[in-house]
C-alpha cells in the first residue's frame, strides 16, 4: 500500500517568505508526527497530532511555526517569515495509534536563501 508522502520534495524560498509543507499519512493512521532534521543531526521532534488535535506541540521552536490537521488525515506545517536557520529537511511520520511503529515519509528539503 501507499506509504507516507510529502510535498513538495524540495522547496527553495527567500528569507521572510511564508511556506507550507504537506504530509499525507498512511490511510487509517490516527497519529501524525512532524520532525526537523538539520544537516548532520538526528531528527528533532516538532509536533504530534492524535486525530485532528495537536496532542503535543512542545517541539515547535517559536510562534512562526504552526501545523494543522483539520480532518484528521492530511497535515500542513506552516512557517511564517522564514529565516535561513529554518533550512532543514522536514520529516513527517504516521502510526496506527501513538503506541505503534512510526512510518516516515521521504521528507521535504527546505532551503531559505
Amino acid at each position: 500500500g501507499a506509504g507516507v508522502s510529502q510535498t513538495p520534495s524540495n522547496k527553495v524560498t527567500e528569507k521572510g517568505k511564508y511556506v507550507e509543507l504537506r504530509c499525507d499519512p498512511i490511510s487509517g493512521h490516527t497519529a501524525l508526527y512532524w520532525y526537523r532534521q538539520s544537516l548532520g543531526q538526528g531528527p528533532e521532534f516538532l509536533i504530534y497530532f492524535q486525530g485532528t488535535g495537536a496532542a503535543d506541540d512542545s517541539g515547535l521552536p517559536n510562534d512562526r511555526f504552526f501545523a494543522v490537521r483539520p480532518e484528521g488525515s492530511v497535515s500542513t506545517l506552516k512557517i511564517q517569515r522564514t529565516e535561513r536557520g529554518d533550512s532543514a529537511v522536514y520529516l513527517c511520520a504516521s502510526s496506527l495509534t501513538s503506541y505503534n511503529e512510526q512510518f516516515f515519509g521521504p521528507g521535504t528539503r527546505l532551503t531559505v536563501l
Binding site: 506509504g3 507516507v4 497519529a31 508526527y33 520532525y35 548532520g40 543531526q41 538526528g42 531528527p43 528533532e44 521532534f45 504530534y48 492524535q50 496532542a55 503535543d56 517541539g59 520529516l91 511520520a93 502510526s95 501513538s98 503506541y99 505503534n100 511503529e101 512510526q102 512510518f103 516516515f104 515519509g105 521521504p106 521528507g107
Partner: protein, 115 residues
C-alpha cells in the same frame, strides 16, 4: 527528559567484517528503544525495536541489538556487513506511555562499508 548519545559519528568498516554501532540513553522513566536506518535519498526505516521482554532484539537485514538497562545502552550489531549496509543509522527512545510516542533521536552514525 530523555536524551540519546551515539558515540561514533562515523564508522568505516570492510565488507564481511562485524560492526557495532553504539547508543547510550538517559531517562528518568522506562523507555522504548529503536534503531532506524536512512539510506541515501530515502526516508527513515525501522530496523528494530525494544519494547519489553527479551533484551536481545533481532531486526531486518541481519541486524540485532541488546538492551542493557544497567548500562543504559542499546548497541546495534551485525556479524558480517555488506556494501548495501552503507547508510546513516539513528538510535531513538520514546516514552510511549506518557508522551504519545514522540521519538528522541541521537545524532546518527554514518556506516561506510568498503570493499
Amino acid at each position: 527528559a530523555q536524551s540519546v548519545t551515539q558515540l561514533d559519528s562515523q564508522v568505516p568498516v570492510f565488507e564481511e567484517a562485524p560492526v557495532e554501532l553504539r547508543c547510550n540513553y538517559s531517562s528518568s522513566v522506562s523507555v522504548y528503544l529503536f534503531w532506524y536506518v536512512q539510506y541515501p535519498n530515502q526516508g527513515l526505516q525501522l530496523l528494530l525495536k525494544y519494547l519489553s521482554g527479551s533484551t536481545l532484539v533481532k531486526g531486518i537485514n541481519g541486524f540485532e541489538a541488546e538492551f542493557n538497562k544497567s548500562q543504559t545502552s542499546f548497541h546495534l550489531r551485525k556479524p558480517s556487513v555488506h556494501i548495501s549496509d552503507t547508510a546513516e543509522y539513528f538510535c531513538a527512545v520514546s516514552d510511549l506511555r506518557n508522551q504519545g510516542g514522540k521519538l528522541i533521536f541521537g545524532q546518527g552514525t554514518e556506516l561506510s562499508v568498503k570493499p
